[in-house]
């Protein structure tokens, strides 16, 4: 097949390959090993397919690419409209990159209901990719809600002690947040006659919503609430630590790595894309919440006795950076926000896997239970160090690039945002390195830890790609930013207009 033909269906293939694999998996007999291998093959295949996207991506072009637009339901006018730009492109690849790693990390740790687990994982992958590729608001909402069930089931069935509480809390928070988005989408449809993102964006730009006084603000809030819960932005973050602590490792990896990005992606695509003026008006309090999230998340992370909870709160802090960058409306800020989304996906995904590996050996996440692990598990300690440093934002690793860009964007917007945000970088170094020191350095405090085995082959295969990606992203960020930058520029054009209009007044 020529690449042109492939390009026209590639998004459909990438999105639905995992689902097809999941359905095939239901037919396989319950031989755990076969099921694991099959899931791995499917997820790797999806990853390879998804590499087509960046390879044939036209970087200079700001439009949506690989578009497919077919009518799905005639009444109401719902289209199967998919496409990616520089913003969603990498999030798709991030999803397909993390899923095979999730399969690998679950190889040994999931030994009951193996079949169900991998089916859920593959269904979840389809829903996640769908969220990033849909350009029809209805389709987007469809995938958005579809991510809920497999994730909630994964937490609720395969999680730890308080799994049911965490699963229900996760489900209810997100569900109630997203019904407001549904109301907003329905309103937009009623007044524009379309669910198509591009059509709605153009209609809003030409004043379709402006003639209803106050409507745009409510719509902005409707979308915002759904996304803020997902990010999670302070004060909607309380579901996150519970969900993370109780989720199985693979669940945590996808939750932190991709699900949270659905929120920030939504803010960037829909809140900024559809309501530039409202975004400007509301930026001050959104940025304030983001700053509170950065600092509060970091401070709470610092005092966590539980490693997984610490990482969870560090996510609150890091995602605060993303929101700060997005609402700075500067090119540097948005580029940085996008880059943190990817970097955080890789490094926090890695951290959760590493925490999961410890839990498998000791069945606890309590930091005091460990100490001096560097001597029994040298390879593990070294891998952990790379990922911790990436997460803390050491130059030459991926965390640094994003944080630097976001902070410079925040400074441009208002110096005080930049200054306060910058403290977050310090905090993150404090809590991460302190945790690292307590877990790995010194003498082995608990004799049982002396006999812990180092990384197994599967674990290496899961962790090292993360560490490698962290390094490559830190050294050659231009590979990613090259595609992100034009899309971000395009996303910012309405702001230039808004700004010039404000100056004109």
């Amino acid at each position: 097949m020529s690449t042109d033909n492939l390009s026209s269906i590639i998004l459909t293939l990438v999105t639905f390959a995992p689902l097809a694999g999941g359905l095939l998996l239901t037919l396989l007999p319950r031989r755990d090993r076969d099921i694991r291998i099959f899931a791995l093959v499917i997820s790797l295949l999806t990853f390879v397919l998804s590499l087509h996207l960046p390879v044939y991506f036209h970087r200079a072009q700001t439009d949506f690419q690989y578009q497919i637009d077919k009518q799905w339901v005639s009444t109401p006018n719902i289209h199967y409209h998919m496409g990616v730009d520089g913003i969603s492109l990498w999030l798709v690849v991030l999803t397909t990159f993390l899923t095979p790693l999730c399969v690998l990390i679950s190889w040994k740790s999931i030994h009951e209901r193996v079949k169900e687990f991998f089916i859920l994982l593959l269904i979840l992958e389809t829903a996640l990719i769908g969220v990033f590729t849909s350009l029809d608001l209805f389709l987007f909402y469809f995938f958005w809600e579809a991510t809920l069930i497999p994730m909630a089931l994964m937490i609720g069935i395969f999680g730890h002690e308080r799994k049911v509480y965490a699963a229900v809390k996760f489900f209810m928070y997100t569900m109630i947040g997203s019904v407001f988005m549904l109301a907003a989408i329905l309103w937009l449809y009623a007044h524009t006659g379309s669910f198509d993102f591009v059509v709605i964006r153009d209609q809003i730009a030409s004043g379709a919503v402006a003639k209803f006084p106050g409507a745009a603000q409510w719509l902005f809030l409707g979308f915002f609430l759904a996304f803020a819960v997902k990010v999670p932005l302070f004060p909607f973050h309380t579901w996150l630590p519970d969900a993370h602590v109780e989720a199985p490792t693979a669940g945590s990896v996808l939750l932190a790595g991709v699900l949270l990005k659905m929120g920030t992606y939504g803010l960037l695509r829909f809140n900024l894309g559809l309501f530039p003026e409202q975004s400007r008006h509301n930026a001050w309090w959104v940025m304030t919440l983001a700053l509170i999230g950065i600092i509060y998340g970091a401070l709470v992370a610092m005092v966590q006795p539980n490693m997984k909870k610490l990482i969870a709160y560090s996510s609150v802090s890091h995602l605060g950076f993303v929101v700060l960058g997005i609402f700075s409306f500067t090119q540097a800020g948005l580029n940085g926000a996008m880059f943190i989304m990817l970097a955080h996906g890789v490094s926090t995904g890695g951290l959760f896997m590493l925490a999961g590996i410890l839990h498998e050996r000791r069945h606890t996440y309590e930091i005091v239970e460990f100490g001096g692990l560097a001597s029994p598990m040298p390879v593990y300690a070294a891998s952990y160090l790379v990922i911790v440093l990436a997460s803390a934002g050491l130059p030459l690793l991926n965390g640094f690039i994003g944080e630097f860009l976001v902070l410079s964007g925040a400074f441009q917007a208002k110096a005080v945002y930049g200054i306060l945000g910058a403290t977050g970088v310090i905090w993150s170094a404090v809590y991460l390195l302190w945790m690292y020191q307590r877990v790995f350095f010194g003498k082995v405090t608990h004799p049982v830890n002396n006999s812990l085995s180092d990384l197994s082959g599967f674990e290496k295969m899961a962790i090292w790609p993360c560490a490698a990606a962290a390094l490559v992203m830190g050294v050659a960020p231009i590979v990613w930013l090259g595609a992100i930058d034009p899309a971000v520029q395009a996303a910012l054009t309405p702001f230039a207009r808004v700004a010039s209009r404000m100056v004109g007044q």
Binding site: A183, L186, A190
Partner: protein, 511 residues
């Protein structure tokens, strides 16, 4: 004088024509099969007879659907403008008859397990369906009343079929007493409407009311009609009976009662609201919808009995459906029609699972009994999960599009307040449905609950419900387009209401 004027056209025609009979063919076919069941019942051997009667009844429903196809070929009025065959009535005919078929399949094994030996069970279902089918095609208030009574009386008896259980007798008696009270309201409304307009024909009433000033009596009449029908669809504040009746009645019958008579009553309500189109019914419906959604969902949150939980959930769903009634005629009608179909598929399915799992004497109906069902019977658990997800309104299921259409009709009619109440309620509602899923998959069973293998008839019923739920969730267009076409026919009789939002004129004709 007035009576003669009303029925004057009747005398100009002579006897009913054969076309008249074709237009009530499904009702005739179903009645005949019902009578065959009644006649055969005493002749047949008690043990085997049950199954044969069930098969006959099933054949009756299939023949009924075939007859509906014939009926659909000759649309128009029949029996002196008392019956109208249009897309709308065909839709509801197919729906209620299909519901009956699934209920018969569900009851097939249930009756043996519960040791209920009575052939008239199947006959009553068929007769009930006759009434419901007639309700959807009747356009004359007295005939609607008669059809309503036919369907109600069958339901009263069906509710009491677990004769050895006090709860079932209580259920039947409560349903009967309150139901008669409500039908009396309906009848009173008919009488007042006749007094106000001099007619009992829906079209004529609508024309009369549009022509001149509306007498106060007409408002009162519509309110009374709404009370009567509000009871039948279990809309708040006429919903109090629902949990008790649903708890006591046999589970397959509850599946039946919560879908078929409701669909029929909604059909009547649609005709009354959108064809008679008395102004100011809007607030009546608005309040009832908001109350039903809220009380239903809040009530369901604290239930521990699955049947009661589903009873409260059905109140909430009646509320969602009423939201469509508050919207503009065209959109609202098609959204409501789609909703009744989707709701029927998922709710019937849920009750099919409940009725099998309950076991002899319906012993296992609390939430705790469902613990660990995901392990002990993956098939039942998976089926119930699909239905519950559809009741929540998760994408890929009929319940999602149903809610979606209703709320988009409401938004289009600028009912933002009601829509917000609705979407919030569906968020709250997710919690209690989810609780059942949690019980099934995330808890280990603490009690010994026997799970018998799923019999073939029930498998068939579940497969039908799952297929319908998924079909409506993935390819909703066909059914919706049909609903829209028939809704357009229905509201053509009344002038289109101008939607309150000004910008609608810029919107292409899509919904």
């Amino acid at each position: 004088m007035i009576v003669i004027a009303t029925f004057a056209p009747a005398f100009s025609q002579t006897l009913p024509q054969s076309a008249d009979y074709v237009r009530i063919l499904p009702e005739l076919v179903l009645s005949v099969f019902g009578m065959i069941v009644m006649l055969l019942e005493p002749v047949l051997d008690e043990g085997k007879g049950q199954k044969i009667l069930g098969l006959i009844a099933l054949a009756g429903t299939l023949a009924g659907i075939g007859a509906t196809w014939f009926m659909a070929q000759s649309p128009g009025l029949a029996f002196w403008n008392m019956v109208q065959v249009d897309g709308f009535s065909v839709f509801f005919h197919v729906l209620v008859i299909a519901i009956a078929a699934v209920v018969i399949l569900t009851s097939y094994e249930y009756m043996a397990v519960q040791r209920i030996r009575a052939g008239e069970y199947y006959a009553l279902i068929l007769f009930g369906v006759v009434g419901m089918a007639l309700m959807s095609s009747a356009v004359e208030l007295v005939l609607i009343f008669i059809a309503l009574e036919i369907s109600s009386i069958s339901s009263y008896v069906l509710a009491g079929f677990r004769r050895h259980e006090a709860a079932s007798a209580e259920s039947s008696l409560k349903y009967f007493l309150l139901g008669s009270f409500a039908t009396a309201f309906f009848l009173y409304g008919v009488a007042l409407m006749f007094g106000a307009t001099g007619s009992t024909n829906i079209d004529q009433i609508g024309r009369m009311l549009r022509a001149g000033a509306i007498p106060l009596l007409a408002f009162v009449a519509v309110a009374f009609l709404f009370v009567g029908l509000g009871f039948k669809v279990a809309a708040a504040p006429f919903h109090i009976w629902t949990p008790d009746v649903y708890e006591g009645a046999p589970a397959p019958v509850v599946g039946f009662m919560s879908t078929a008579p409701k669909a029929a009553a909604f059909a009547v309500l649609l005709r009354i609201v959108f064809v008679i189109n008395v102004p100011n019914t809007f607030w009546l419906i608005w309040i009832s919808a908001a109350l039903s959604m809220t009380l239903g969902n809040v009530g369901a949150l604290v239930q521990n009995n699955v049947k009661r939980l589903l009873a409260y959930s059905s109140i909430a769903h009646a509320g969602y459906l009423l939201v469509a009634f508050a919207a503009a005629p065209g959109l609202g009608t098609s959204a409501a029609m789609f909703y009744t179909a989707a709701y029927a598929a998922m709710n019937l399915g849920a009750f099919a699972v409940v009725s099998h799992f309950a076991g002899a004497g319906e012993r296992y109906v609390t939430l705790e009994d469902y613990e660990g069902l995901g392990r002990s019977s993956p098939l039942l658990a998976a089926a119930l999960t699909i239905f519950l997800l559809s009741l929540i309104g998760i994408p890929m299921t009929g319940g999602f599009f149903a809610k979606f259409y209703v709320f988009s009709a409401a938004v289009k009619a600028n009912l933002i307040g009601l829509t917000i109440i609705g979407v919030l309620n569906s968020g709250v509602g997710a919690y209690y449905y989810l609780r059942i899923i949690v019980m099934m998959y995330m808890r280990e069973s603490r009690k010994e609950v026997p799970v018998t293998p799923v019999p073939f008839a029930l498998r068939l019923a579940l497969a039908a419900c799952i297929a319908a739920t998924i079909y409506l969730g993935v390819f909703p267009s066909r059914v919706l387009r049909y609903a829209q076409d028939s809704a357009r026919q229905l509201v053509q009789q009344s002038p289109p209401e101008i939607p309150s939002s000004a910008s609608v004129s810029t919107v292409p004709e899509i919904l």
